[in-house]
């Protein structure tokens, strides 16, 4: 059929259409960060494959949290309990396998079931109480962290449980979750996991009905409910998604380090939100992309590792992250403004 046009519409510059993608801020930020550290720390190996391996590893681990968090935020909710879920599920696996000698795969299943229950609890509490998810999940985060620490010291008397490599099934788990790929420079397999997750999330968001519902419930939950979107189900599924991905990260870290630490994951809930927001996800919901969250995580990882390569005290990286966050949010809000008028 012919394209219908109106005299009230101007042709849109294709460059400008590219500019209004939600992830543009994170892509530009990633490039800027890479160029900056290539200049500052290029001589000490940032641009080498060794440098790439180190920041891609950090970025991949963050992306595994940031991508489901981005989906949840597009759906209009926050989850501050992902960090505590990483610690809790990691410790469940370690206690069951290192302490009680379970097959490590059975422990994974137990941890995954636990994660699903955490997700359902978060989602149900938020939807039932109609309180802001920021507060509800902050509460469950503290509960989860407290219970994990308490139970761990009760059962083991320690806060770090070692010896996972002695558990039955460890070698096959290592091959899937912690092996290194590549000939010369080794890249951890978690990068593949992160990329697969981004692909899955992007397909879910843009290619399925469920993705349309995510945008709908985040944009206006009431309107979406009025027209027949099962709002409660969508949001609970998104909470389950963040918890399950937190469990995936816990599995990868447990298998990689052969131990679990109750402190593991603490603070990463905010890093995940930062990565999602840098990646163009709107804090109020209804807008964003999984690819953007991936680039947000990439920029984050490059800053964290780049500072080490530059020989500066690593504590500075938080200041740089803060600056990037503010700049990216400014850029993103400008881009969104363009998007809302771009095709008028």
């Amino acid at each position: 059929m012919s394209v219908i046009t109106s005299e009230r519409m101007l042709r849109v510059n294709p460059l400008r259409r590219l500019l209004v993608r939600p992830e543009i801020g994170a892509v530009a930020g990633s490039i800027a960060v890479w160029i900056f550290f290539a200049i500052v720390a290029g001589s000490s190996g940032f641009v080498s494959s060794r440098g790439a391996s180190s920041y891609l590893s950090v970025s991949a681990e963050l992306a595994i949290l940031a991508v489901p968090v981005a989906l949840l935020m597009i759906g209009g909710e926050f989850d501050l309990s992902v960090g505590s879920t990483v610690g809790a599920t990691g410790m469940i696996i370690a206690i069951l396998s290192a302490q009680f000698g379970w097959n490590i795969w059975a422990s994974f299943v137990a941890a995954l079931i636990f994660a699903v229950l955490i997700g359902i609890m978060n989602g149900y509490l938020v939807m039932r109480t109609r309180l802001p998810s920021f507060i509800v999940t902050l509460g469950t985060a503290y509960i989860l962290f407290g219970v994990t620490s308490g139970v761990t010291s009760l059962v083991t008397g320690l806060t770090v449980v070692n010896g996972l490599d002695q558990a039955p099934g460890y070698s096959s788990a290592h091959a899937i979750f912690a092996t290194a790929l590549g000939g010369g420079q080794q890249f951890p397999i978690e990068i593949i996991w992160a990329l697969a997750l981004v692909a899955l999330a992007t397909w879910l968001l843009l290619g399925t009905s469920f993705g349309n519902w995510i945008f709908g419930v985040g944009g206006d939950a009431n309107a979406a409910r009025n027209i027949g979107v099962p709002v409660t189900r969508v949001k609970i599924l998104l909470f389950i998604g963040t918890a399950v991905c937190a469990c995936l990260l816990a599995i990868i870290q447990d298998v990689t380090f052969t131990n679990a630490d109750v402190l593991r994951g603490q603070g990463s809930e905010f890093y995940a939100i930062v990565a999602a927001v840098v990646g163009g996800v709107l804090l109020t919901g209804g807008y964003g992309s999984a690819i953007g969250a991936m680039f947000g995580a990439l920029a984050f990882g490059m800053v964290e590792e780049g500072i080490v390569f530059a020989g500066v005290n690593a504590e500075w990286y938080k200041a740089v992250i803060g600056i990037i966050l503010l700049l990216a949010v400014l850029l993103n809000s400008y881009v969104r403004k363009l998007a809302m008028e771009a095709r008028r």
């Binding site: 059929m1 009905s209 009025n226 809302m340």
Partner: protein, 316 residues
Amino acid sequence: MSTTNTAPLIDVQNVSKYFGSVIALKDISMSVNAGEVMCLLGDNGAGKSTLIKILSGVHQPSEGRYLFDGKEAHFSSPRDALSVGIATVYQDLAMIPLMGISRNFFLGSEPTKGWGPFSRFNVKFADQVTREELAKMGIQVREMTQPVGTLSGGERQSVAIARAVYFGAKVLILDEPTAALGVKEAGVVLRYIAQARARGLGVIFITHNPHHAYPIGDYFTILNRGSSYGTFAKSEISREELTAMMAGGEALEELSHELAEFALTDEKARAALAEAAREFEAEAQGLHVEQLPSKFLEAEHQYADQLPPTDGEGKR
């Protein structure tokens, strides 16, 4: 009131709704047939919203009968009503401003292709259908990914109406679709209502503006303080009668008293000014005065806004 033999699409008989001790609706009867526009009029607080919430399945009537297509209807949710073909376009439009037009159009009823867990949202089909449906209503949009927030209020209403029609609505309930619109845009929406009627839908058009209702309506039901003044065919009622009935007889009478009061004040002013002018003239004839009499100044000051403007030297 219908000329056809078939049962009306929607027929409510002596419906009442109580919220605790509050009587929100008392003994309301109304009906709408296919290919008719029934206008539901009433001032704020008349009970329009409660009635449409009963019609669309949000509330259940406390008393009375609700027939859909001749059969007793018991809807427990808006989804129930929607599934038999009662589509309600709410004031808030049920649209997501940041989402694209076709994604909004199909939100909650996405077309898919493929099977099982691999079924995908058929974006191409959604775009094409949305474009065609909007074209039927005379709206031209180049890009279906354009956020709904960039459309004007009238266009958004039209997308919502087009969506309801496409998804097989038999009855279209429009909750104040013209309330927030400019004159031209309201006209556009009224045209879509006419188109929906021409396509054989029964339309219930809720408004408090008789000037929007009169040109489009076939029948008018007027609500006032929770009860009905009755239903009138267009031939039985004039626009003025409609307006008068909507405002409520007493209220209008009060208003006319007030207006008469204003007119009286005007007369008093004129009389006072004329009196002052006469006095001034009489005094001016007798002696040349430099100073205006204080009475004149007082009168002029008091009724300054009703006098014609002066030129620079104080002459009129």
